[in-house]
């Protein structure tokens, strides 16, 4: 409680101040971090609260990006494209979730992974998605008289989106549907006995997490100006899970902290790997190795993730101070 009252305004202030002080390359990282956090909040909701695994969140991210890109390229207002992105991703999740959510545990994980692979190969083959080259020359985001010119605008758009996603998640978790999700994570049988339509709730939470990913994808396509199958590799889905686990599954702030930790780590290693004298395979090897090592280290030493560990630390220290 106390922690929240201090942390939330502080986080908001830092979020608002950062775009003013960061240079363009740092700001680019800031945008990507915010987008990753948006998807990761959905992963945390899906896995941490509702107990359903998805190794295919990157697919929903992609559906959102392609939807917004296609609409914008066909002359529709970018704002419409951005709003359609989460809707399309959620609709897609409802369709694929119907068969997929009959599976549990690692079966569900593999099936969602396969779903992403199929989607990527389709996007690489079909004409209207631009094949392997993808879609280019997507207009910048604009709404009414506002047009997103530089990185700063996207930074604000991204972090506003993230704030919205976090708020929705917080409200849902503490409510009747949120309790139903948390209940079915422990026991679907006991949840059903309390009158919860388990299948429908699992679909709904998948769709909600997909909508978050879709919104991030929509912003991403306007930000980069192009989308291609290569923008949504399977590694990206794994990365979201690593972020959620590192930050702490089943905490909203954990998703943001995890996304920040992994993004900054990967960026740092990227700079390291690209230093003169490093072999050409260094960037690839380092980024994969880092996911593996960080995941193992967290599972071993901080099984609940960073945010719960920090909370415990703070709540242990406070009574000591008053003494």
């Amino acid at each position: 409680m106390m922690l929240g009252r201090v942390a939330v305004p502080l986080a908001a202030a830092v979020t608002l101040a950062l775009p003013a002080v960061l240079d363009d390359s740092a700001l680019a990282v800031y945008v990507l971090l915010g987008l990753a956090a948006m998807v990761t909040v959905g992963v945390s909701l899906l896995m941490g609260y509702a107990g359903q695994v998805s190794l295919g969140q990157g697919a929903f991210y992609g559906v959102g990006a392609y939807t917004a890109a296609l609409l914008a390229l066909n002359g529709l207002p970018p704002l419409l494209g951005l709003l359609a992105a989460p809707v399309a991703a959620a609709a897609f999740a409802l369709v694929v979730g119907l068969p997929l959510l009959r599976l549990r545990g690692h079966h569900l994980a593999f099936a969602t992974l396969a779903m992403q692979l199929i989607l990527l190969s389709l996007a690489g083959q079909l004409d209207f998605t631009g094949g392997d080259i993808g879609l280019q020359a997507i207009p910048p985001f604009s709404a009414w008289s506002f047009e997103a010119g530089g990185v700063t605008a996207y930074a604000y758009l991204t972090w506003a989106g993230l704030a919205l996603v976090m708020l929705v998640t917080r409200n849902v978790i503490a409510s009747r549907p949120g309790r139903a999700l948390r209940a079915l994570a422990t026991s679907e049988t006991a949840a059903a006995s309390s009158g919860i339509p388990v299948g429908r709730y699992k679909l709904a939470v998948l769709a909600l997490s997909a909508a978050f990913a879709g919104l991030a994808g929509g912003i991403y396509c306007f930000y980069t100006g192009y989308v291609a199958p290569g923008s949504f590799p399977v590694l990206i889905s794994i990365q979201y899970i690593v972020m959620a686990v590192v930050g702490g599954l089943g905490t909203i702030w954990g998703a943001v902290v995890g996304a920040a930790a992994i993004t900054l780590l990967v960026q740092g290693l990227d700079r390291l790997a690209n230093l003169p004298g490093m072999p050409s395979y260094a960037p690839g090897v380092l980024s994969y190795a880092v996911y593996a090592l960080v995941l193992i280290a967290v599972v071993l030493f901080l099984p609940n993730g960073l945010v719960p560990a920090i909370r415990r630390l703070l709540s242990r220290e406070r009574p000591a101070k008053t003494r």
């Binding site: 409510s175 009747r176 309790r179 209940a183 006995s193």
Partner: protein, 251 residues
């Protein structure tokens, strides 16, 4: 109230429940006893819909329910307390009980995400009713604790509170007294008596024959998936088939 008609269910060719017929009248407390593996829990799962019957019909409040999903039967007014404790992890005791009201309330994702007035009203009502149910089973002081840290006896009480919260017409209790100590057991018996006095229909599985005899208007005895006796407690206790089933088990 509840009519089970020729219901069967087998696992791997072996019948766990075989051709069971059972009628429970409104306001009746019906005990179900039988040796381990007799099919009591399976019968409960068939009634509540967690298992599908291979044959037979089940009606509840004059309506066929054997094809309905478990959550639909729950919404018609069936509540069950499982034999194994099933409290929801990562939630407080109060939140666990609030889940019991799911079928009686309706605020969905949109109302929750936007914190609509309807949702706030629902939440207040749910919390108040959950607190009342917690009070009833004597768990008020535990309301804000994580549910999975409760001792086993309290976990059972928590499930009972969750079930009662939904204001069921039929309450199914699967060995509610197992693992409870003397005083807790007495308290449970008093609560069941209170519920009976309030007119609630109860199906009660229990190994403790004295416990069932005290509470039940009628006892049904299962053995190897079949009903071998059905009648008032005094009669059933002296039934030769029942004695044989119990002796057979202990031999």
């Amino acid at each position: 109230m509840l009519a089970v008609q020729g219901v069967s269910r087998s696992f791997g060719g072996v019948y766990a429940v075989r051709d069971v017929t059972l009628d429970v009248a409104d306001g009746e407390v019906c005990g179900v006893i039988g040796p381990n593996g007799a099919g009591k829990s399976t019968l409960f799962n068939l009634i509540t819909g967690h298992l599908a019957a291979e044959r037979g019909e089940i009606s509840f409040l004059g309506r066929r329910v054997d094809r309905l999903a478990p959550h639909r039967r729950a919404r018609l007014g069936m509540s069950i307390v499982f034999q194994a404790a099933r409290v929801f992890r990562g939630m407080t005791v109060r939140e666990n009980v609030m889940v019991g009201l799911h079928g009686r309330t309706s605020a969905g994702f949109v109302a929750a995400a936007l914190r609509l007035p309807r949702h706030r009203r629902d939440e207040r009502e749910i919390a108040a009713r959950a607190d009342a149910a917690l009070d009833r089973v004597g768990l008020s002081e535990w309301a804000d604790r994580p549910a999975d840290q409760l001792p086993i006896g309290q976990q059972r009480a928590l499930q009972l509170a969750r079930a009662l919260c939904a204001r069921p017409r039929l309450l199914l209790l699967d060995e509610p007294a197992s693992g409870l100590r003397g005083q807790e057991r007495e308290r449970l018996a008093e609560l069941v008596e209170e519920l009976r006095a309030g007119g609630l229909t109860i199906l009660l599985v229990e190994h403790d024959v004295a416990f069932v005899t005290r509470l039940a208007d009628r006892i049904v005895v299962l053995d190897l998936g079949r009903v071998i006796a059905d009648g008032p407690p005094a009669e059933v206790r002296n039934d030769p088939l029942v004695l044989a089933a119990y002796l057979g088990q202990s031999a």
